[in-house]
């Protein structure tokens, strides 16, 4: 069996994606809608706070809820880490994904001034990948052991680690 295609939702998401891209051309590099009807905005890292604030405050967007904040490591790229924000709009019952990029040494603006929920998620991304968030109120390790060295979720970190337990 194949999931039935929802053309109406696809069209609505495409239209909304074009709407946002028209309003924020300074930061949005690409907009795509997956075949499962998921809208993704691909952003320049300088535009994290403007885009997230726009999506939270604008009347036609109202994405008040930050559902998830993660990172993806693709070591072959120049900017290896891809930061992913998943937002949910309760007013319009709709989800959107915002993606940015960075490398190991460039800091990224923290989303905490926009969404308080980003606090522990950014601590997790720092701990697991080594992405530094500027203006974060309290950026320290959250899941690894106290003296742990290294960033476990990176692709070049071995599965059973460097230290024998």
């Amino acid at each position: 069996t194949v999931r039935p295609k929802n053309e109406v939702e696809q069209k609505q998401l495409c239209a909304f994606g074009e709407y946002v891209a028209e309003i924020l051309p300074k930061y949005i590099q690409q907009v795509q809608v997956t075949c499962f009807n998921e809208l993704e905005l691909l952003i320049h890292p300088d535009g994290i706070i403007p885009v997230l604030t726009f999506l939270r405050d604008h009347t036609n967007a109202q994405f008040k809820s930050l559902a998830d904040l993660t990172a993806v490591d693709v070591p072959s790229r120049q900017y290896r880490f891809e930061i992913v924000y998943n937002l949910l709009s309760l007013r319009f019952n709709s989800r959107i994904r915002v993606k940015t990029y960075t490398d190991e040494l460039t800091p990224v603006d923290s989303a905490v001034p926009v969404h308080q929920a980003a606090n522990w998620y950014e601590r997790e991304v720092w701990d697991m990948y080594g992405v530094f968030f500027a203006n974060h109120p309290d950026l320290r390790r959250i899941l690894t052991d106290y003296g742990f060295e290294g960033h476990p979720f990176r692709k070049d970190f071995p599965l059973s680690g460097y230290v024998e337990v």
Binding site: P25, Q29, Q30, H44, P50, F54, H58, N60, Q78, K99
Partner: protein, 113 residues
């Protein structure tokens, strides 16, 4: 409205919501004047605000206004207008209508790699 409570935590019932909305929408339109006329943000936000403002001016009954706006309770509409005002002020600093800051590297968004 003649309610005693909005039903939402932290949101008090607004007495005289028409006045509050009138002030907020006028402020938003004033802030939007500082944005270049051809910016998409200004165009669309003016459209939204003028639509809502006209509805607020025409409809004096709060319940009917809530139904016409179709955007939750009137107190939520007030909160949303305050958010839009703060967003408009920040947009003047950020100027998002300018062309793209920097193109990504060509392989950045390619998937599968």
């Amino acid at each position: 409205s003649l309610q005693t409570t909005t039903g939402l935590v932290g949101l008090a019932v607004a007495e005289n919501p028409h006045e509050r909305l009138r002030i907020l929408y006028t402020k938003i339109l004033g802030v939007l004047q500082n944005i270049p006329k051809d910016a998409a943000y200004r165009k669309y936000t003016e459209q939204i605000v003028n639509e809502r403002f006209d509805l607020v001016k025409k409809e004096t009954d709060v319940q009917k206004l809530q139904d016409k706006l179709n955007s939750g309770q009137i107190e939520e509409v007030i909160v949303q207008a305050e958010n839009e005002l703060s967003l408009a002020r920040k947009m003047i600093q950020w100027k998002p209508w300018e062309p793209l800051v920097e193109e990504p590297p060509s392989d950045q968004w390619r998937w599968p790699i």
